[in-house]
Amino acid sequence: MKATSFRNLGVGLTVFAVFWLFVTLYPLSFTIVSSFKDNTEIFSSPMSLPSVLRIENYTRALLQATILRNIANSLFLSVISVALLLFLVSICSYVLAREKAKWAVVVYLVFLSGFLLPVHSALIPLTKLVSALGGYNNYAMLIILFVSYNAPLSVFLVTGYMKTVSKELDEAAFLDGCGYFQTVIYVILPVSAPIFATAGIVAFLFIYNDLIFSILFLSKKTLYTVSIGLSAFVGERIVEYGPIFASIVLSSLPMVAIYLLFQEKVQKGITEGAIKG
């Protein structure tokens, strides 16, 4: 483990750490408890335990809303998109971090502008584009959109981080006869693992929970993703919260697993030695 300065948290920070643990575990218990209730109980006695365990919330989420299918779809889309995204970002950001030329600065700014605009502004021109490309009900299209829309944030995070990676590493690699590409993959990528894990988790979260692209570009039930699945119990006026909470519990599990897996990598990925200068 690194970051010696924190090994001893001190009394204040320890108390805070435990306090925040309580503060964040509470919503989990709230969600689980609510997943066994009906609307009247959720709203009129939100803090108490369910009077009867309404298991049917889960069976309805599984059978009526086909939540497992939706989870599998979202997982598939997220895994492929994040893998492609991180690969493309790694080579792109390396250049942006190292290249001193004007064009690289311009490209960086162009990327930056991408996450500053609310997505609603882009929907109409984007839909025309997707429609012209025949991209409805097409996972390839969705993956490309997910990669494109998560690119700005990932490029921003990774480029910033790579700037702090010592240039001596690249130069040593070049002397050893590595090309640009090999240098990135074999030398820079490993030492940048923490930020890749972070960017990966963030992108995964956004893609897994995406609502707007799924709504605009999917209409085949078999292709539906988690967010559409979650709305299966939102009626025109009456919303059934019990089965929605059951669906939330089920669909959160894979995300937590993925997060823990990535987050482990953050700390394992750091090899001993002077890697940053």
Binding site: M1, A3, T24, P27, L88, P118, H120, I124, T164
Partner: protein, 289 residues
């Protein structure tokens, strides 16, 4: 072995996708902010120059919305930043239980906003909700409020819930910075016998320049375009008091068919965000020099 074209080719795949699917629609939206359009394909887009912007400037609702973004920014800088930083420190410390904490701290972002909104509505519920019950139990009745239903407090309540939700995400940015501070640096200052405070000021903070830069840019741009959590918690109410630029954009464009106004709001969000990002970039570079 550096090919002359290699840098271009390494940037190209991502840039090409980005330009086509993100930058083109964004540029299109900016351009459309100078037109008036009702959102019907067959209706003409009429060039109106700066009219949409002038309409915005004349309407106090938009000032209020941008002021609310300002409140999100204040919350981010004063509370979210130290909070996420502390959480990042805790999860990388390796103290007992830090693995459980790592998972728990991230939970709020994983649970869908529907769950979060409903939970906080219950906690903040004025008629016997736990927060007010707690305040009353401590004989602080005067502090008990109708948190989400009062025009004075609704926006702050949402700012608070937003911080609570996204602390776990921002924690990761600081955690990534912290784990990459090389062991030797700690070892060398340990030999020097530097105190805790000195280590924090002279080693930890300067090594995290990039993390702070990332946080500052993300937090401010996030505050400018915040939408989902406001929409689901208050819908911008009561009476528009918790509206943000993005909720007004949504209502103007997608409910009231005023796409020109919507795009003008979007463009302003973009411009403010860009200005801030450049400012932060410059400040960080000054620190380096």
């Amino acid at each position: 072995m550096k090919s002359k074209y290699a840098p271009f080719l390494m940037v190209l795949p991502l840039l090409a996708l980005y330009l086509l699917f993100v930058f083109y629609p964004v540029a299109n939206a900016v351009l459309s902010s100078f037109f008036s359009w009702n959102g019907i394909a067959s209706s003409p887009q009429v060039f109106v120059g700066l009219r949409n912007y002038i309409d915005l400037a004349k309407d106090p609702r938009y000032f209020r919305a941008f002021a609310n973004s300002g409140r999100f920014i204040i919350g981010s800088l004063l509370f979210l930043m130290p909070l996420s930083f502390a959480l990042g420190g805790i999860i990388v410390s390796g103290v007992r239980g830090s693995r459980v904490m790592k998972a728990a701290y991230f939970l709020p972002v994983v649970l869908s906003l529907t769950a979060i909104s409903l939970m906080w509505r219950s906690i903040l519920y004025p008629n016997g909700g736990p927060l007010n019950a707690l305040l009353e139990g401590m004989n602080l009745d005067r502090l008990a409020q109708n948190w989400l239903g009062d025009v004075r407090f609704a926006i702050w309540a949402v700012v608070f819930v937003n911080m609570w939700t996204y602390a776990g995400l921002n924690m990761l940015i600081f955690a990534a910075g912290l784990v990459s501070i090389p062991q030797e640096i700690w070892d060398s200052v340990a030999i020097d016998g530097a105190g805790k405070v000195a280590r924090f000021w002279y080693i930890t903070l300067p090594s995290l320049k990039e993390s702070f830069k990332a946080f500052l840019v993300l937090a401010v741009s996030g505050s400018l375009k915040v939408f989902d959590i406001v929409f689901i918690m208050t819908g911008g109410g009561p009476n528009g008091s918790s509206d943000t630029p993005a909720t007004l954009l949504y209502f103007q464009a997608f409910r009231f068919n005023r796409f020109g106004i919507g795009n003008a709001i979007g463009t302003l969000i973009l411009l403010f965000g860009l200005a801030w990002a450049l400012l932060v970039n410059r400040a960080v570079r000054k620190l380096e020099a």
